[in-house]
């Protein structure tokens, strides 16, 4: 039974997604516990698989018993075992959180939302778990299609944002597919392990270089790397709170995972680092993304949009760190995938709560919220400190590794960009804190003792938020065990 856990991780959300609409026909209010049940099972399987990988090493699962390279293979090593846990935990937290905000925001039935929600989680898990290039493309498209649908049900203007995302996303996915095609012409194989064995003989070939270029551009569109990020802010701002809380932390991080996989597993680091100038390009793209994301975030008056630009900047950290390509920086990148997933989740979860309570997502809507929602805002302070990078929280440690890696590689421009973006993050979040405490207001008319009633967010929204904040603290405190037991083995041999 436990041998089947790798496939169950995908099968559970997929089957539950198919049954959800039927269940919804019978009893609509059963859908919510149903989704939570499926994601909880999925999370238990992922945690079990992670433990198994830590104990015994890489797990290979042959679908239908067909050995690779003919059959499709699921390969789980330390990197994607960690990703599986991140994805299933985030999805579970968002599912718990989603109920009240969906009741308020959706005018149609929640049954279909939950169906697509589970399908999206299936796609995320599938991208990460598979060991086959074409299979990865199919899961990438499942994720993208469900993402378009989830975004399109949002507020006014969401369908148009979603349409732009479709156009960009399709170009990205098609480029990826072309890359797969070129590799297939050259090697006759689609299996990642097989490809990494066959490819080194062909590294001089132009076909392989074209394939690499197509992969890189395709994935860069999917992860919203700076010049190609234009679809992201609109789409994530207009999406329903629950959808943006699911998609924003995961989609971009999974694209970073795919990039790491292609650069260091499909192609050997010897091609990606020594033979192509791609790492230099990545460092500069990363710097551009960090600076542009931070500056654009500073210009926003809409806090959800501001968070979107922070995501763009965070992508810059990870791409730049991968470009530095020494083992310390890659360690930082992988740790930052974990940290950024949970921090972005935190940001969008709080954004959803504020939207739920105030019906707006302008910065001024934070006014007096420290008095009205003390617990939510306490969690928000932890999340904000983590994004800024203050020591006990997890954000500090991945930035530390990234900066250390950059110093070893003498990339001072990247260090400067990282520190600049941290400083801008301080401005961004302390501006919100100032509005939240209403300093300027009480100063104005001396009798600043208006009674503000506490109206905390509903429990189903508050608990995931507090768990996220606690998670940020715990990952920060226990970062060493995580790095030593998991991430150290996930770093490719450079």
């Amino acid at each position: 039974m436990t041998d089947q856990f790798p496939i169950l991780i995908i099968i559970i959300p997929l089957l539950f997604a198919v049954i959800t609409p039927l269940l919804g026909l019978w009893r609509e209010n059963l859908c919510y516990p149903w989704v939570i049940l499926s994601l909880a099972l999925c999370m238990l399987c992922s945690i079990f698989v992670l433990g198994r990988v830590i104990d015994t090493g890489v797990i290979h699962y042959y679908l239908g018993g067909w050995a690779p390279p003919w059959g499709i293979e699921l390969v789980i090593d330390h990197l994607n075992a960690l990703m599986l846990v991140i994805i299933s935990t985030t999805a579970l937290l968002v599912a718990v959180y989603s109920k009240r905000s969906l009741e308020q925001e959706l005018d149609s039935s929640i049954v279909y939302f939950y169906t697509i929600f589970l399908l999206q989680v299936t796609g995320f898990l599938g991208i990460v778990i598979t060991g086959d290039m074409f299979n990865l493309y199919v899961f990438l498209e499942i994720t993208a299609l469900t993402g378009y649908a989830l975004i399109a049900v949002g507020e006014d203007g969401a369908p148009f944002a979603s349409f732009r995302y479709i156009i960009m996303g399709t170009v990205g996915a098609c480029f990826y597919l072309l890359g797969v095609g070129y590799l297939y012409i050259a090697t006759g194989s689609l299996n990642i392990a097989d490809l990494s064995r066959l490819l080194p003989e062909l590294y001089g070939s132009k076909v392989i270089l074209v394939a690499f270029a197509f992969f890189f551009v395709g994935i860069a569109i999917k992860m919203a790397l700076f010049p190609l990020h234009v679809w992201l802010p609109d789409a994530y701002t207009k999406a329903p709170s629950a959808a943006s809380a699911l998609i924003a932390p995961l989609m971009t991080k999974i694209a970073v995972y795919v990039m790491l996989r292609i650069m260091f597993t499909v192609f050997k680091p010897s091609l990606s680092i020594d033979m192509l100038p791609v790492t230099d390009i990545m460092i500069w793209l990363g710097i551009a993304a960090i600076v542009a994301g931070a500056v654009m975030a500073l210009a926003q008056t809409d806090f959800k949009r501001m968070f979107c630009y922070i995501v763009v900047a965070e992508i810059g950290y990870m791409v730049g760190g991968t470009g530095i390509a020494n083992s310390v920086a890659i360690k930082g990148v992988i740790l930052h995938i974990l940290n950024d997933a949970i921090m972005t989740l935190g940001m969008f979860v709080v954004a959803g709560i504020v939207y739920y309570q105030t019906k707006g997502h302008n910065l001024t809507d934070f006014k007096d919220l420290f008095k009205k929602m003390p617990y939510t805002m306490a969690a928000f302070v932890v999340i904000a400190l983590s994004i800024i990078g203050v020591p006990p929280t997890c954000g500090f440690f991945s930035k530390w590794y990234l900066i250390q890696g950059a110093i070893i590689a003498d990339c001072w421009a990247f260090v400067a960009a990282l520190l600049l973006s941290s400083l801008i993050n301080i401005i961004l979040f302390f501006r919100i804190f100032e509005i939240g405490y209403g300093f300027s207001e009480t100063h104005g008319h001396g009798n600043g003792h208006e009674e503000v009633l506490i109206s905390e967010a509903p429990m189903s929204m508050l608990i995931p938020t507090i768990i996220t904040a606690l998670g940020i603290m715990l990952i920060g405190i226990y970062n060493q065990p995580i790095v030593n037991n998991i991430i150290q083995f996930a770093v490719p041999k450079l």
């Binding site: 399109a152 369908p159 979603s162 479709i166 072309l178 297939y184 006759g188 097989d194």
Partner: protein
Amino acid sequence: MLDFIIGKYNYWIYIILMMIGFYAMIGKRNLVKKIIGMTIFQTSIILFFVSTAYKKGGATLPIIEHAHGHGEHVGHAIEASSYINPLPHVLMLTAIVVMVATLGVALAIVIKIYRRYNTLEEDEILKAIK
């Protein structure tokens, strides 16, 4: 030069089609024209995959010889250049399904946009959103 163009005409056709589709996706202001461009773009990739599977003259069947045992022969049992490969066709069946699904989602969203703004021109929609 002429040999280069004629000998690899299938790639030229796929690149030209792809660029037509790409132009329509980026250059056209009408949403339905963008979707048409997207479909041309995806179709060109299908054409590319299927045409790569074809071999002129001397092609054999894709039967793997001496592969009864598992493992040892895996690497060189498949000689990708000597047979008409059925696998790209199968892959493209999946890609066609993906393409149709994308088209469906895109059209559904366009209908939603049309109901809301009563137009499909990008400029007018942007003006209405502002």
